[in-house]
Amino acid sequence: MVKYIIQRFLMMIVTILIIATLTFFLMHAIPGSPLDSDRTTNPAIQENLEKFYKLDQPLSSQYVSYLKSIITFDFGPSIKKPNETVNSLISRGFPISFELGMVTILVAVISGVILGTLAALRHNGVVDYLAMTFAVVGISLPNFILATLVIKVFAGELGWFPAATWQSPMHMVLPTLALATGPMAIIARLTRASMLEVLTQDYIKMAKAKGLKPWKIIIRYALRNAMMPVVTIMGTMLASILTGTFVIEKIFAIPGMGKYFVESINNRDYPVIMGTTVFYSTFLVVMLFLVDIVYGILDPRIKLHKKEGDAS
């Protein structure tokens, strides 16, 4: 186990390094510079600015100092936002994005699993058809469309929830709804399919033959086995939800990290692009690692370390 974790950790470092390198060179391949602007600036000032941000140095030495900044996790000041460092942007924006992302994941997983399980238990019944219709709609609708829709209905027409900004739990409802529906629909469909398969297994029949209570059979015997495919897609789903927050944050005027991320690309704000990308990829890689660990806990057949030579 320890060996596995060390192995994974080393691989994580390599992965992050590759992402960081790709980001760096792609970023510099985009024409333009952070110091371009509509107004003409004094060439002397321009030169001084370039010197200050080390943009006058050759790309290779910029790359080296960039790698240094990754290791120390200090990306320096933002070019476009005076008085802000990349770290301060992240520490201000990320908790909000993280909160939104986690609430979304939680809502999506819990409601998706319940919906999928109900659909499987009432296979070909009314509940099944309703749940699956809902799931198809949920998968087909992009979250930004859903976002405008829920704002119009729940904030505009009904006035139940505030339409935008991030202040109280009430403010969280609409963005979470917009963001969670898609993943929830995917999880519901996946749970249903996998549950239907598990329910036909002999060990379910055997649990019934033991005279166990029905809810116990579903939770202990069926659900745990049916969760494997759901856990598998959790990793990539985390990625899509966290990137999905960029759009949703924009629509709901949430001061999360997404705003800075998108803005930084438009502005060629090099330190911010690099800082946020490295930060996000690190976060995702760690999350994927956690998913793998959960996988091993759920299914004892999956070994996280090398074989010990057990039977079969």
Partner: protein, 349 residues
Amino acid sequence: MTSKVNYDEQQLQNLSTKVGKKMLEVQDLHVTFKTYGGEVHAVRGVTFDLYEGETLAIVGESGCGKSVTSNAIMGLIPQPPGKISNGRIFFKGKDLTKLNKNALRKVQGVDISMIFQDPMTALNPTLTVGEQLTDGLRTHKSISKIEANKKAIEILNLVGIPNPEERLKQYPHQFSGGMRQRIVIAIALICEPLLLIADEPTTALDVTIQAQILELFEEIQEKTGVSIILITHDLGVVAKIADRIAVMYAGKIIEIGMKREIFYNPTHPYTKGLLNSVPRLDLLEEELEPIEGTPPDLFAPPKGCAFAARCPFAMEVCDYVQPETTYLTTSHYTDCWLQDERAKGLFSE
């Protein structure tokens, strides 16, 4: 060895000394399944009794309704699409078909338990063997975890699993096929059932392991006095451990009798056909005789005897009228027109 001798009186006596009272009475059981193609009449009037401490084998080819019969006793017929459309199953005087789900659960796993065919799929891969052994026990009996574990170790010892204390903490994938089947048997035995239904318990196992498992059954029966219903298509298994044999064909029991009566004095042409299609070590030259044809379509069961179309001795009456039960001895009876008084002498073998 003299065949064609009726051991009935002697055997019945043996039966009543070895076994006690009637514990299970299945009367005219009918099970149907609704499918897109129509209604399948899987079990069409099965009647048999089971005594305490005996082993009854139900044999027959695939699709003859033997598993459905055992599932019906176990209350495992999925409803819908399945339905017990007629008949009664008395277990210790209680009609199981009339019990509600909660009452049925108190019988399932406690008084009647079941062993499944494939030990590779019958165990939940995500729970330890110990958890799977004890959860039935803890559902039905108010018993502490420590007590339950003690009982589990005891039962693993009984089914012949070495180091039970260690093994309890392991997962099914850490066991071999034969060991898994022993665990499945242990799970079935842990609540000390009166009746054990074994649905093809050796089919998925290697031949050497099969023999071990069959010996285990005999040993368990000796120690606990449990009655066993053994569902199988393997006549070798039957010859080894059964006391009585019921032969099923197309949803009906067509012949039932003591093991010797069925093996040495089979009367129904289907039973004879089954026995002839088993390879024998003592008759090397003889070729195996297959039973020609296929079983009837149970979407539309035939009006007369279901075997008539494949039967080399079929008479006109067989196509139109269901044969009645003929009692050959007190323990041996068959549903075949050939045994009718009026048909005697038509075919002299």
